[in-house]
């Protein structure tokens, strides 16, 4: 595993994505934008996991027609797949709830559509 500068670029991208995501989640009032923020957060975490799984010169562990070389342990990839599936389920649920909120209150602004306070 080389620790050169190009190797760090994905980690910087992860940091930037997570930073943007938290900024959106905290600052935006529109519910759709809030969900977009969560989606970016999920992508950032997934990119982090995939980057962890990268090994220079490693071979993907697919057993048919394998090229020569050391196979990587596919755990991070497996984690990412699971995480993507879960993120999609969450996203669908959140968007469907926002549709209901819009039907009830006529707004997707979290300040205007809020009912419960205190």
């Amino acid at each position: 595993m080389t620790q050169g500068i190009p190797f760090n670029i994905p980690f910087l991208a992860v940091a930037v994505m997570i930073g943007i995501a938290f900024y959106i989640i905290i600052s935006q009032r529109n519910l759709i934008k809030l969900v977009m923020g969560l989606s970016i957060l999920a992508s950032g975490v997934n990119l982090f996991l995939i980057t962890l799984g990268y090994r220079k010169g490693g071979v993907a562990p697919i057993y048919t027609h394998t090229p020569a070389g050391i196979m990587v342990l596919p755990i991070p990839q497996a984690l990412t797949l699971t995480s993507i599936v879960i993120a999609v389920a969450c996203l669908a649920l959140m968007l469907s709830m926002i549709i209901h909120i819009y039907r009830h209150t006529g707004s997707t602004d979290s300040e205007k559509s809020r009912i419960m306070k205190g």
Binding site: L93, T105, M116
Partner: protein, 493 residues
């Protein structure tokens, strides 16, 4: 499939699960913890041949896990029975029960797993099922709002957990809790991972200052599921304890982390109860009390964590404080569950949760008012009810750690009593109101659901010593003895 067959199937499943949990619990108390390696040729083969680390998912059940599983099984059963008559007046029952069983499965998974990533997956399963159940009555705008708040908080928390898992995996190439605990170093990256895990679990268990979602979610969740969603947040409390005690153990700076947990606990107790006093919505009032009661558990176990590195203090009061905190989890699950169910019974019959519009209900709903009295006395820590036993254990031991914390805990208990006196007086006593003249007692399944919890509360109140020595103390020791947990996976390597 007819509706009756479906109902019988759901209840039979949950009764069977309760039965299995009790058998497993008995075996664990007699023979020590159990492990099960998924996909291995033998369940005990934690480390596959030609490997030096466990790569398979391992379920690891010790006394603490099974303690939480007992709570989950019991409350889920009572909640499902309670929901039977509620679902007769709603549509979409098939989906309701599917989500209910999924929520129970998610909680069991979180409590029984020995693998960090598996913990994340079950955390998400429980969150999605819980949020969908909260927003089940989409015809109410507030129900959808509560559900959205829950899923947003849950998915943000779960992604933080996943990021922390990624950090730990990057350093040690391990996901198993026992194997990680053996090699963890408490480097800067481990501290970041701990901060992420602790923040995420505190968010999910509604510890102050991250409690804003809890009153909204608990107050709108449909009948029977409120206690279950509350138990799901207790499963996250278990996740926090597992992280602090088993994953990091004495490698972390226990005094500092212990004090952070104590401060969150005291804040939750105090803010929760002061917010509860002036609520007029009966379920919101109880939701704020739920936050306040979680504070007691954090306080008790936090004191144990603060003295974990000091065997003398741990033996003299730390273990007692932890037992008090852990005993409070089961007590609170029972009486808080019962109180949520009585509040939902009022809403079911009256169509309102506003205490100012209720009155004189003890004439119409005799059994519900008896259940409410028992729950209210237990939560306020009035002897001889079970809430008193666990609170007394916390007061006594925390007093020896720091007297001021103990005084705050007692003060909170008194305010709790005041608040429940107000709620009882508003809903059940007073003159009969003409608009509620024809209100009848709730149907039998609801009474059975509440009755199950009441009987267990009375049993716990009569034999507190037996419960503490048979199920609570083993759970405390399981948290303290990190080595046992590690050895079960690593086989003393």
């Amino acid at each position: 499939m007819s509706e009756k067959a479906r109902d019988i199937f759901v209840i039979a499943t949950l009764v069977f699960v309760e039965f299995l949990v009790i058998i497993l619990a008995r075996d664990i108390y007699l023979n020590g913890l159990h492990i099960y390696t998924l996909g291995a040729s033998s369940p005990n083969l934690t480390i596959p041949e030609n490997y030096i680390v466990p790569v398979r998912i391992i379920l690891e059940v010790d006394s603490m896990s099974i303690f939480m599983a007992i709570i989950t099984a019991t409350v889920s059963l009572a909640a499902a029975i309670y929901s039977l008559s509620f679902m007769k007046e709603e549509t979409g029952g098939d989906r309701f029960y599917t989500l209910l069983l999924l929520l129970a499965a998610g909680m069991f998974g979180m409590e029984l797993t020995g693998d960090l990533f598996n913990l994340f997956v079950f955390l998400e399963i429980a969150s999605i099922a819980g949020a969908a159940l909260t927003a089940f009555r989409t015809r109410f705008a507030d129900a959808v709002e509560g559900g959205l708040k829950y899923i947003v908080i849950s998915s943000a928390a779960a992604l933080m957990v996943l990021f922390a898992i990624g950090i730990l995996y990057a350093q040690y190439n391990l996901l198993n809790i026992g194997a990680l605990a053996q090699v963890i170093q408490y480097t800067m990256l481990d501290k970041i991972a701990l901060a992420l895990l602790a923040t995420a679990f505190t968010m999910k268990l509604a510890g102050v200052p991250m409690h804003m979602w809890a009153p909204d979610t608990y107050s709108v969740a449909p009948a029977g599921t409120t206690p279950m969603i509350y138990i799901a947040s207790q499963a996250c409390l278990y996740g926090l304890f597992r992280t602090c005690f088993t994953l990091y153990g004495v490698t972390l700076n226990t005094a500092t982390i212990g004090w952070i947990v104590i401060i969150i606990g005291v804040l939750s107790m105090f803010v929760g109860v002061t917010m509860a006093v002036h609520q007029s919505d009966v379920k919101r009032l109880m939701a704020y009390h739920a936050i306040s009661q979680s504070g007691y558990m954090l306080l008790g176990v936090g004191v144990g964590l603060a003295v974990l590195g000091n065997p003398e203090a741990l033996a003299s009061y730390g273990r007692e404080a932890m037992s008090g905190g852990i005993f409070h989890i089961i007590n609170n699950a029972l009486y808080k569950g019962l109180l949520f169910l009585t509040a939902e019974a009022l809403f079911f019959r009256l169509g309102t949760r506003d205490l100012n519009k209720m009155g004189g209900m003890c004439r119409n709903m005799k059994y519900t008012s008896i259940f409410f009295i028992i729950g209210a006395l237990a939560i306020s820590g009035i002897p001889p009810f079970n809430g008193f036993t666990s609170k007394l254990m916390i007061y006594e031991s925390v007093y020896r750690f720091n007297p001021i914390l103990s005084v705050i805990a007692m003060l909170v208990s008194i305010i709790t009593l005041a608040s429940f006196t107000k709620a009882f007086q508003a809903a059940f006593t007073g003159p009969a109101l003409p608009q509620y003249k024809d209100v009848k007692e709730v149907p039998k399944p609801m009474l059975i659901g509440m009755g199950i919890l009441t009987i267990i509360i009375i049993f716990f109140s009569l034999f507190p010593g037996l419960i503490v020595s048979s199920i609570v103390n083993p759970a405390t020791d399981a948290l303290i003895n990190q080595a046992t947990y590690i050895n079960a996976v690593m086989g003393g390597l």
